[in-house]
Amino acid sequence: MLPANGSSSHEASVTDTRPLARIDKEVATPAQAVAGIGPGATVLIGGFGDAGVPFHLLQALADLGVGDLTIVANNAGTGDDGVAALIRAGLVRRVICSYPRSRGSVWFERRHQEGSLELEVVPQGTLTERIRAAGAGIPAFFTPTAADTALGEGKERRVFGGRACVLEEALSGDVALIRARRADRWGNLTYHAVGRNYGPTMASAARLTVVEVSEPVVEIGDIDPEVVVTPGVYVDRVVFVGTEN
């Protein structure tokens, strides 16, 4: 999904007189960054604990107020912010995550006890691999993780090399919300420490990938191509939110 004024053409003809041929994925505010996300969307959300959580985008999504969301994240949020802000506001129908049981995960626990929130628990490696598969065009894969356990029940089982495996399906998003450190206007990204976590994988697996960055967006060429972690092709919108998380 390209921005309205973007063009990826490498062979613009001489008769092409489009005045705005630059690719510029930067938007001014978190509200603009999440604009257009609709009810019922599946939202991939980066982060592990508080590391790499796109808090500003999640607040903007909570403010947008669209409901019936399915969220895919490692944890189910703690305190009142981040993923918890969406759950608290009653906007989430289903949570697909690896580790919902965290100290301070009060809004998840409350909504889950009320019965208003479905939970699918997925082994962490399977969760990230399902998302990777979606981004790489792989519809499903076999893995020994969770074979012959409660989390493998109901899944196709096959034995490879003497080892029981279960079939896991790719998991894509309508939207991915992630946090990075630095972006250029083409959407190339670098991250900070383990804040990287799900970001590069989720960026590849959604129809609309939105990134909040802690440093001002830089000009193309300012990020060494050798150190780009997420290629800009996966990124649609970038918003600078400052270092406060």
């Binding site: 590391a51 962490q124 490696g125 074979a147 012959d148």
Partner: protein, 236 residues
């Protein structure tokens, strides 16, 4: 056998010892148990430490022995907790506590972290557990009806690490055995645990038995049998 559930994570470093009902037995402290785990780690090994008690292990590595601590959220070469004021919200361990990175360490994304784990590149996984069976079955992710299910990376580590060892107290806080003939809690993986380190004994899992290699002061075969509901072989 109905085993009362602990209402906490599989292991919590701050808990007091649970095995004090055995008279003359002087259980090892979990700090000592961490030393036992640490001294068995091969030089140069890539090691993943689970949340809770296993996080005590790095503090007991013999000086000069280099191992690579892998953290499944995307770090190889995890270092100790930073000094007060040096915490970075983007530099945390699997239990979400602040850590540092050692020279030579590196960061990578979650997918690579788990490819490393599931692809057999982690030499040793040290985890806590609710129960371990005499055939090496591991139960450490779910207590139905008691806790929200939360698996994290446990199932990936259990099937992917080259060697899985468990560090835990020998019994629950209410004294129920955690070394059992057959797990009553949902399995993390079957037949994967090779060795258990508890406050009463260190035991290898071989041929459907716990083969005791070391025992805490005062622990005899009989006292251990009282708090273990699985076949034991004594090879101390």
């Amino acid at each position: 056998m109905a085993v009362p559930a602990e209402r906490q994570e599989p292991n919590r470093a701050e808990e007091t010892d649970a095995s004090t009902q055995l008279g003359d037995v002087r259980p090892w402290t979990m700090t000592e148990v961490a030393g036992h785990v640490a001294s068995d780690l091969p030089v140069g090994a890539c090691v993943n430490l689970g949340i809770g008690l296993p996080t005590l292990v790095p503090g007991h590595m013999p000086a000069g022995v280099e191992v690579l601590l892998q953290c499944e959220n995307g770090m190889l070469g995890m270092g100790p907790r930073p000094p007060m004021g040096g915490e970075d919200p983007d530099r945390i361990d699997a239990g979400k506590g602040p850590v540092t990175i050692v020279p030579g360490g590196c960061y990578f994304n979650h997918n690579e972290a788990f490819a490393m784990i599931r692809g057999g590149h982690v030499d040793v996984s040290v985890m806590g557990a609710f129960q371990v069976s005499a055939t090496g079955d591991l139960a450490n992710w779910s207590v139905p009806g008691e806790l929200l299910p939360a698996v994290g990376g446990a199932m990936d580590l259990a099937i992917g690490a080259r060697r899985v060892v468990v560090m835990m107290r020998h019994t629950t806080k209410r004294g129920a055995p955690k070394l059992v003939a057959r797990c009553t809690y949902p399995l993390t993986a079957a037949g994967v645990v090779r060795r258990v380190y508890t406050d009463l004994a260190t035991a290898e899992i071989t041929d459907g038995r716990f083969v005791v290699r070391a025992a805490a002061p005062g622990v005899t075969r009989d006292t251990l049998a009282q708090v273990t509901s699985a076949p034991i072989a004594w090879d101390v």
